[in-house]
Symmetry: C2
Subunit: 354 residues, 2 copies
Amino acid sequence: MRDSHDIRLAVIPGDGIGGEVVAEGLKVLQALGLKVETTTYALGAAHYHATGEILAEETLAELRGYDAILLGAVGHPSVPPGVLERDLLLKLRFELDHYVNLRPVKLFPGVETPLGKARPDDIDMIVVREGTEGPYAGAGGVMRRGTSQEIATQESLNTAFGVERVVRYAFDKAMTRPRKKLTLVHKTNVLTYAGDLWARVVERVSAEYPEITTDYCHVDAASMFFVTDPKRFDVIVTDNLFGDILTDLGAAVAGGIGLAASGNVNPATPGSASWAPSMFEPVHGSAPDIAGQGKADPTAAILSVAMMLDHLGLTAEAARIEQAVAVDLVERQADWVSRTTREIGDDITARVTG
Amino acid sequence: MRDSHDIRLAVIPGDGIGGEVVAEGLKVLQALGLKVETTTYALGAAHYHATGEILAEETLAELRGYDAILLGAVGHPSVPPGVLERDLLLKLRFELDHYVNLRPVKLFPGVETPLGKARPDDIDMIVVREGTEGPYAGAGGVMRRGTSQEIATQESLNTAFGVERVVRYAFDKAMTRPRKKLTLVHKTNVLTYAGDLWARVVERVSAEYPEITTDYCHVDAASMFFVTDPKRFDVIVTDNLFGDILTDLGAAVAGGIGLAASGNVNPATPGSASWAPSMFEPVHGSAPDIAGQGKADPTAAILSVAMMLDHLGLTAEAARIEQAVAVDLVERQADWVSRTTREIGDDITARVTG
Ligand SMILES: CC(C)[C@H](C(=O)O)[C@@H](O)C(=O)O
Ligand SMILES: CC(C)[C@H](C(=O)O)[C@@H](O)C(=O)O
């Protein structure tokens, strides 16, 4: 990589607990002995209120120059719904072509799950959520707003190009897993146009992966099986909106949003024309109600750092973090004391170095 | 009502286990001492294979003449996905203007839930799902099918008329509940056009219901809370597709799809121009894998009969069935023996009459 650094990283702490959890993620990262150069970008609700700006074109251009981006969380009730989501978070996903939204759903040993009978082996899947199409395209409109004749439309846009590339990624991911199983989740019986495209692409690509067992599940049934039979899933590939819903549900069954990491991934080869930095972030939001109190669990942010390292090819370092988190989670249960955000970060850092 | 009958009922047993569970629902209904006249319509996969017909216009016209419709389940793997759904189930919902899809999510005492710590008081909500709009409108299309340039669109259509009527129904429903709380579930931060319409309508109508506490929850967060904190919900009002997903999830947390009843409701006053019969059905499907073996749980079908009676104003009779089911569910747990579909129906019938 460029300079004499292993990683040139852009950091967007964001709002609320974002900064607190990102600080712990960076602490763990710095303990690995890699050469990391970080540059912080103050984006989010506070920046918007102060400057009226959400994401300037020059900032976006600068962000393209990093190896990766680490984001805490953005959002505050003072900003109308949709504004930061559309013009910051989704804009980054679309502009940097993060067409894979990678969300592991994994129950670590020692972690309490709301599912009374689930054991860690029962919940171990990866959701490959499409990140740049579907109902997230922003297409739609409104007519006769505010009258009794108002209509509002919202359009899901799906392309063979967009579906095929994420489906291929999911098949490749399934090849790395012992069970080698891929499930398409959609709603083909109602969303017949989009569903038909997804189903045909999966069927066609599956011919190139004879080792992979492929099946299909409607999204309504899948949400049921996340609770009653999560073991049936290994790798899931799904549409942007279904992936959004299922991965929050997945976070809940795997012990909570405080542990769920995600990657907004552009899988192109670095240096190629379609490459842009990938962005890693905890699935949780900015939680303004507990901000500044040291109450947030930084584990999801720390696991997001591990996902980032894995993506950058630093797999041994990623594994060290995951291992440290796994040990911490087991000991959390055995030896329950309430720790602050910083204490959890310190403990995981100590396990990484020690 | 017409003739000397209390209820003139059209019955669509359907495919797979549909006929088995409907038979038990009718057995319980007949035990109440009401004057019920039933007419059976053989619709579904078998009928389609035999005749090439899914729902003839004359059949639809006849169905309009009943007080209500009871449906078992339709569907078989031999019919391509979407065909029976669109041309039978959804067609009935659209033609008979079933704009309220009513789905209680309630954990009965004695019923095992996958949520280790949930008690019956924690799960007691009603999902009011819109039934005739949104992504179910069937709007969309495909271009350059089968090529690398294919695009497929799927459009969600939302009208002030359609949203307002279901929102009003939900507020009225919330007024009948002790907690008087209504939650709008949507994804206003991404589906900004449709979400904005829903949010504005809920806000406007809420002014007429000062006793009701209204709040909002994104669908991804809602799916998480169904598992981690179902108690926060009392009445939910939501879009057709979100309601589809959440109610299957709801069935799972409330003890399984074998217990979940639903009503496709047209709330107009009988005799008025917009009235048409409402249709009641278990949420589960036709389960061809266990059909004909007496293994299906008829409880959801029986509870669907209770919902139907309630809708027809026969509230005392509805309560008798619900009470009988509640007792049966408690005793099931205490005294576990595996019973056939018919035995469960017999036992609940005995409790209704006894
Ligand atoms: C904040 C929101 C736009 C976002 C999404 O819907 O994708 C979030 O829920 C997520 O899952 O990352
Ligand atoms: C069978 C299907 C069309 C239907 C739906 O999506 O509404 C079903 O899942 C339901 O919930 O009643």
